[in-house]
Amino acid sequence: MVRKDLLDLASLERQEVEEILDQAIPFKDLFQRSVKKVPALKGKTVLMLFYEPSTRTLSSFEVAAKRLSADVTVFDVPHSSVVKGESVKDTIDTLQAMQADYIVVRHQMPGLPGRIARMTGASVVSAGDGAHAHPTQGLLDAFTLREIYPESGKKVLIVGDIRHSRVARSTSTVFRKLGYEVAFLGPGSLVPDVPGIKRFTSFDEAWRWNPDVVYLLRVQKERQGAQYYPSVGEYHKLYGVTEERFRLIADEGKWVMHPGPVNRGVELCDAVMDYERTLINRQVENGIAVRMAVLYLLKPKLARMES
């Protein structure tokens, strides 16, 4: 794979996705050693440009970059420049002057990482842009799914606010690219019609589809209210994994995934967190390996490297 940036998964060929996932395996193996660090990006600078707060994705990228021996700087924008009125272009110029080799961007505006990628020779990785894409989340989900089901054709039910979710978009894209079947379940107004993806609005109906994996999206509490769903309590009753539904899941040995952080009592009940087929912690661990593979495979195009 020869690419400068990773901005979404839709534009990747299946074979490129598989290459990234294959390359993440040796990185995951490193986690068994006492020294988890390798010198592959020694002397390189990775800048984390986060216009939206995110503890998990930011930490995961930070751990990944540090395990590759890169120098990591967190550019926490909401609290600094945006407040001071600095434009994105000015911020990028500042980063250029800092000679960043890799820039990891999270922004609420769809497409912004792509704009930045065109302005700089550094490799740009989207860490989530609006409802557009969250490619490394999709990749880590695919890596985790492939660990439990190496054969394609298995069925994944994605539950929640599909319409506003970049996780749903990236994850369903990559699952389907790899030959898994995907269906959506959620409140009617929040489940878009996508060709080739089954659409359910009731849990019982979705259950009859017989999914192998139930992928729960995080509920954004600020979206509650009559417009989308009445309350989080109501959401739990209709689409959450209640005690009763958990017994169904456990009896049939279904797997549970969630991008984290979970809202206990909303997307799922407490018992799910202790269930042996809940993959949430494994998704976190795999996220580091996948992000290491992405940083390893991308190649910045910097003028000073050509000399």
Binding site: M1, V2, Q23, I25, P26, F27, D29, R33, S34, V35, K37, V38, P39, A40, G43, K44, Y296, L297, K299, M305
Partner: protein, 173 residues
């Protein structure tokens, strides 16, 4: 491309390696092959150690992440997993590679290996020493030494990795 060694000569070079390791070591050694092809040479050395009744450990090292030229490559090498299934602390490790040239691969292998622990001793065994070192690294065991020019390319193919045994020389002007 001129043929430098045929299958029989490669077998003989592996014999030489195994015999010198058997002659010089008494305690248990850990044979660690460097991907790619060093692992296959290491496997063949181990077959002979086994036939001689010696016990040994076996491991495989992928050194891609330790290379000193990654920033200069337009595409990074394809990684494979390393497999070091023994305790490295205190072990007598013999690194095995197919061709010793500049010594840079061995420099990387030393760094990679010591990230698994602190070996008691590390030695180096190579099927072919073609000269032209760029680092102060010398082998302890050599299957066969070849005279080459700096720009020559020594191309090794091995049975399991490439389908057939041969060592060829590609001359560059």
């Amino acid at each position: 491309m001129a043929v430098l060694m045929d299958a029989g000569e490669i077998e003989k070079a592996v014999d030489t390696l195994a015999e010198s390791i058997l002659g010089k070591t008494t305690e248990e050694v850990a044979i660690v092959g460097i991907r790619r092809r060093g692992d296959e040479v290491a496997e063949r050395v181990c077959e002979r150690l086994k036939a001689a009744g010696r016990s040994f450990q076996f491991g495989i090292l992928d050194i891609s992440l330790y290379r000193d030229d990654l920033a200069h490559l337009t595409e990074n090498p394809k990684l494979q997993s390393s497999d070091i299934p023994f305790v490295v602390d205190g072990a007598h490790v013999i690194l095995v590679d197919d061709v010793l040239f500049t010594g840079r691969t061995i420099r990387a292998a030393l760094d990679a290996l010591t990230d698994y622990g602190r070996p008691g001793k590390i030695e180096l065994a190579v099927l072919i020493d073609r000269g032209w070192r760029e680092l102060p690294i010398q082998p302890d065991y050599v299957g066969k030494a070849l005279e080459t020019e700096r720009l020559d390319e020594v191309v090794v193919s091995l049975r399991d990795t490439d389908g057939a045994d041969a060592v060829k020389l590609e001359q560059k002007d």
